[in-house]
């Protein structure tokens, strides 16, 4: 925390050159300096006002300490500190405070001031941090002068393997401006350590991930979603299967923060998509203690465990949104967490009717994890605009498509029994019963539709799930609060 010299006694003015009112009253300040004496602190130019001695407050420490919100501000400072305070230019008030009856004669009677630079949202967090007024509770970690801060964070084990942004106090304060929630509010108990996680801790990890403050409400809701018993983050980490949280963001917020729902929707290049999922994974790693090779026992893992987060093409969707399918009212901002593996492309460039596409989807979904394993895993089906058009033009909605897929995904027992097709894997169905039975690939309600992707390409994609239902992981949707 820095120390700032006390204000001198007498008249003190705070101004900035980039303020029309301050320019208007320049002659007033010059007269005060001549006649009674005034100490002038200028926030942006040590040469303003012209020809006068000026205390350059370019670092804004004095302005911040004196809680200057408007320039010009005129103070009368006595033995006990500030006795009187005027903001903006009001001729009558300035005359009364200074005792100079014709001060500012010829000038307009009144002009509002401008915002002080010390309350500029881009400057204020750094000032709060420098003045020890952040209120942040996290332990401070200091790096040696000779340490490279990026290497230092890597070596402390708090990164996911990519460089992270140093979470300085001012950056974390700026991040916290993205939410109205109290920094010390506990958001969730984060698995596997079930550690209480505050808004502040989420903000620290969001800074590290590279988030902008406006992403923070999405990150907070996503953290809440994965830290539920239903989502079962502990199991998602501990499994040997290649799965991690997949986040689908719905509502106006997705467009407002610039999320990608279109071209290359699962790929690189969009900051919000890549950093929101990453922030959640950093919370799980750093707050929850869920580290690869330790609690995370994945055999292969998948690249989406760095971040797998996207939005839907809501305006054009023939299917409504994923959040709506889970009961969230239309128009609300929400994030859904689904436990999934990497996306697998479905190419069908010849189908021009829904039934043909349904048959293609079913054939591809059936292969998820293994063609002979059924009812164990949910799936997310991502449909792109060119396939979506086929359903829209035929008048199909979500319910009709899901119903058709449910029928198409019933698999004959003879294809599922162990040994069938020359594969030991399969269901323990006795041969005499296999002929008369059939099983669905997915449990009821186990297929989740999303509509996204670029405008060119007759493609869809399937994202395989993990152990489904209450014994494993079920998708969790959380509304996003500002």
């Amino acid at each position: 925390m820095i120390s700032v010299p006390e204000l001198p006694r007498g008249l003190v003015a705070f101004v900035k050159k980039d303020c029309p009112t301050c320019l208007v009253i320049e002659p007033v300040l010059q007269r005060l300096a001549r006649e009674g004496g005034v100490t002038i602190y200028c926030q942006d130019d040590p040469e303003f006002p012209a020809g006068l001695p000026v205390e350059a407050d370019l670092q804004l420490d004095t302005s911040y300490r004196e809680q200057i919100e408007i320039v010009p501000t005129l103070l009368r400072v006595g033995e006990g500190g500030v006795e009187q305070r005027l903001e903006g230019w009001h001729a009558g008030e300035w005359r009364e405070l200074t005792g100079i009856k014709d001060l500012g004669e010829g000038l307009p009677d009144w002009r509002p001031g401008c915002g002080s630079l010390s309350v500029d949202p881009n400057r204020e967090p750094e000032l709060r941090a420098r003045h020890g007024a952040s209120g942040l509770q996290a332990r401070r970690i200091e790096f040696a002068e000779a340490e490279d801060e990026f290497e230092a964070m890597m070596s402390r084990g708090i990164s996911d393997g990519l460089p992270v942004v140093p979470p300085t106090e001012s950056r974390v304060l700026a991040m916290l401006a993205g939410t109205s929630r109290n920094p010390q509010e506990v958001v969730a108990q984060v698995p596997p350590d079930l550690a209480p996680c505050t808004v502040e801790k989420v903000a620290i990890n969001a800074v590290m991930a590279g988030c902008l403050p406006e992403y923070l409400p999405v990150v907070l809701a996503a953290v809440e979603a994965v830290c539920t018993d239903a989502f079962n983050m502990h199991g998602v980490l501990a499994t040997t299967m290649p799965v991690g949280p997949v986040f689908v963001v719905n509502g106006e917020i997705a467009r407002r923060i610039g999320m990608n729902a279109g071209k290359n929707v699962f790929g690189q290049g969009n900051r919000a998509n890549l950093t929101i999922g990453r922030a959640v994974q950093l919370v799980v790693r750093n707050v929850g203690g869920g580290r690869p090779g330790e609690i995370d026992r994945a055999t292969f893992g998948q690249p989406g465990k760095l971040s797998f987060c996207f939005a839907e093409l809501e305006e054009d969707s023939p299917f409504g949104t994923l959040a709506e399918s889970f009961g969230v009212p239309a128009g609300r901002d929400a994030v859904t967490a689904f436990c999934g593996e990497a996306p697998r492309s479905i190419v069908d460039q010849l189908a021009r009717d829904p039934d043909s596409l349904v048959a293609s989807y079913a054939a591809c979904i059936r292969a998820m994890h293994h063609p002979k394993l059924v009812m164990g895993f949910d799936a997310m089906l991502a449909i792109g605009p060119e396939h979506g058009r086929v359903f829209r033009e035929a008048g199909w909605d979500r319910a009709r498509l899901l119903g058709a897929l449910e029928q198409a995904l019933v698999v004959p027992g003879v294809e599922l029994m162990r040994g069938a097709g020359g594969m030991a894997e399969g269901f323990p169905i006795p041969a005499e019963k296999a002929a008369g039975m059939a099983l669905p690939k997915l449990r009821p309600g186990g297929l989740h539709l999303v509509y996204c992707g670029g405008g060119a390409g007759l493609f869809a994609a399937v994202i395989g799930g993990w152990l489904s239902g209450p014994a494993g992981s079920v998708p969790v949707v959380k509304e996003i609060c500002p």
Binding site: E126, A129, R130, L136, A138, R139, R140, I141, E142, F143, E145, E149, M153, I158, P166, P167, T168, E169, S170, V172, V190, P192, D193, A195, P196, C197, E200, K201, I204, N205, M208, D229, N232, H234, G235, A238, T239, L282, N286, V287, G288, G289, L467, P470, A471, G472, S473
Partner: protein, 94 residues
């Protein structure tokens, strides 16, 4: 302390309690051994065989099972095992 050279700790800042391990059993005879089936396929086959061998050594065996292998054992089950057994074998299978 330079602001740029100082970061906020992103971890939970927990200091885990260090506890001594229970001493290893010197004999199985007369001991109560818990066998926890985590509910993976064929875990029971493995545990049946283990139970035979433990009982042949004079141990008394109690069997337990987790509701699902995909979630941690419920706290009540963990407590039950802790108060009823001298040792526990947690069995994975597939």
């Amino acid at each position: 302390m330079s602001e740029q050279r100082t970061i906020l700790d992103p971890t939970n800042e927990k200091v885990p309690t260090q506890r001594r391990r229970a001493p290893a059993l010197t004999t199985l005879s007369g001991q109560t051994i818990g066998l926890l089936d985590i509910s993976k396929p064929r875990g029971n086959i493995f545990l049946d065989r283990l139970q035979e061998q433990l009982e042949a050594e004079g141990a008394q065996v109690r069997r337990y099972s987790k509701p699902t292998f995909a979630k941690p054992a419920p706290v009540d089950l963990r407590h039950e095992i802790a108060v009823q057994c001298e040792a526990v074998v947690e069995a994975l299978a597939d």
